[in-house]
Amino acid sequence: MLFDLIASFIKAVLVFAVVMSFVPFLIWLERKLVAWMQQRIGPNRTGPFGLLQPIADAVKLIIKENIFPSGVEKITYFLAPMMSMIPALAAFAVIPFGSPVRIMGRTVNLQVADVNIGILYILALSSLAVYGAVLAGWSSNNKYSLLGGLRTSAQMISYELPIGLSVVSIVLLTGSLSLNEVVRSQASHGIWNIFPQFLGFIILLISYNAELNRAPFDLGEAESEIVAGYHTEYSGFRFAMFYMGEYVNMVTVAALVTVLFLGGWQAPFGPEIPLLWFLIKIFAFILLYMWVRATFPRVRYDQLMALGWKILVPASLANLAMTAVIIVLGGPNAVRILSVGSIVLAVLVGLVLKAAVALRTKSAPGLAPPAGAGS
């Protein structure tokens, strides 16, 4: 009992420390990477390769004066940054990041809490993440903040649907709501979920990009339209909390997608070294998101909503229906049939999407999407 308690405590502290220490590194990485892709240099003054730049920024933000702009709702304004960060950190509690290890003769799960409803828990917490944006936008007493909060909340509510539906397909495939079980089932199937759930993976990739408010879906903070959206009025440490919350969210999402689709801590080849492969997969996923950010221009808001409601929701419903039918009819071969079926379905969705876009540009030639300003 005492051992378990101490082990849980140590695990919680370690996970918190590691995730939080990721944040400055990721900020540096993103700035360097985007600069490299845009043929700039990026931060290079503080420390070797500018590595100390995020720390200098953090120190600057922390020692800044704490300003309450006039007319803000003090309590809500104060609470909003915390509410954007806490759910992301709390979600990490159920992510398994390694196979169980034996310490002092006892088996210890490399997971803060192995709950049998892990997937639902993460979905519940990610639906709580909206509060930060909503309350910040409302309490700031600024019309751009309000618009940003409205946009962000509508966007996050909308994209939770395809996320939930894609995750349900994974649950069907696994037969359990425990994230540990998801990884184990991928080991027993002998194939990672990305193959039998290829369409689900693509949908989750796009939806989480919108859920994280990252470019090209960062409509809630589009600086060319609404200044900085819901955190326009924030400065100093409270702004830093929004900023950190964004990156913590990204790490959480990367870890979740790794567990759901990329086989968790399992090694694709070579020996299974604890944590190593998990970290590699997380970073690969984060790099993908940074690449996307540097590549695509920002979409229009109606395009964003149309993509979510008219394409991703029907596609994830089709994926769910296909998964359910094949699991019932396919018997032991279900996973193999699904691997083919999901790629076929993904291609079909892609073709429909292409045809729809072609039809629209033909009927309204003047309505070409405007080039958004990257950052």
């Binding site: 639902l120 709580l128 409205l150 909503m305």
Partner: protein, 182 residues
């Protein structure tokens, strides 16, 4: 589950519920209600209903209350109605009297209630797990479950028809009805 945890958590739930009633500002009231819902979710956890705990947070705190806040922001009502200033004369008195009567009735029922009131909990293993709930939901309660889907569909259609009008920002009306409780 002991009296201490019960009293602490239920105290939080009641205090924040009071915050909803007495707050002057609708958004503050909504935040109080979210806190109260979270406390009630914790109570569910104490009652070994893990699945309902998560659904409570996802549906009530995560979807329904967000929708409330969204509508408050969309309408941007600055209505400071003054928390308890009812316009009808004696509205407060009547409400208090009716509330006291209701509470008295509840307490009276508990006080004279039979054997169940003092019964200790006895639950089988795995009680309240997703499997347990799923079995009960899809066997004994299948018909209500199917009817629920019709209710959701009707609500979705109704919300879309009611709120549809050109010239206002797009609003995802079907959001909570369409997806969350599935």
């Amino acid at each position: 589950m002991t009296w201490l945890t019960f009293l602490i958590v239920s105290g939080i739930a009641v205090i924040f519920a009071g915050g909803l009633i007495f707050s002057r500002n609708a958004v503050h009231g909504a935040m109080c209600l979210v806190a109260s819902f979270c406390a009630i979710a914790t109570l569910f956890l104490l009652l070994s209903a893990e699945f309902i705990f998560v659904v409570q947070i996802a549906v009530y705190a995560g979807a329904i209350m967000v929708l409330f806040l969204f509508v408050m922001m969309l309408l941007n009502v600055q209505g400071q109605e003054g928390a308890l200033a009812g316009r009808a004369p004696g509205q407060l008195l009547v409400a208090l009297a009716l509330g006291a009567a209701l509470l008295g009735q509840a307490v009276w029922l508990v006080a004279r209630g039979g054997e169940i009131i003092s019964r200790p909990a006895r639950i089988p293993a795995g009680f309240g797990s997703p499997e347990d709930i799923g079995t009960a939901l899809f066997t004994r309660n299948l018909l209500p479950f199917e009817i629920t889907s019709l209710v959701l569909l009707a609500a979705m259609a109704g919300a879309v028809v009611l709120a549809r009008k050109a010239g206002l920002s797009p609003k995802p009306n079907g959001a909570p009805a369409g997806g969350k409780p599935e």
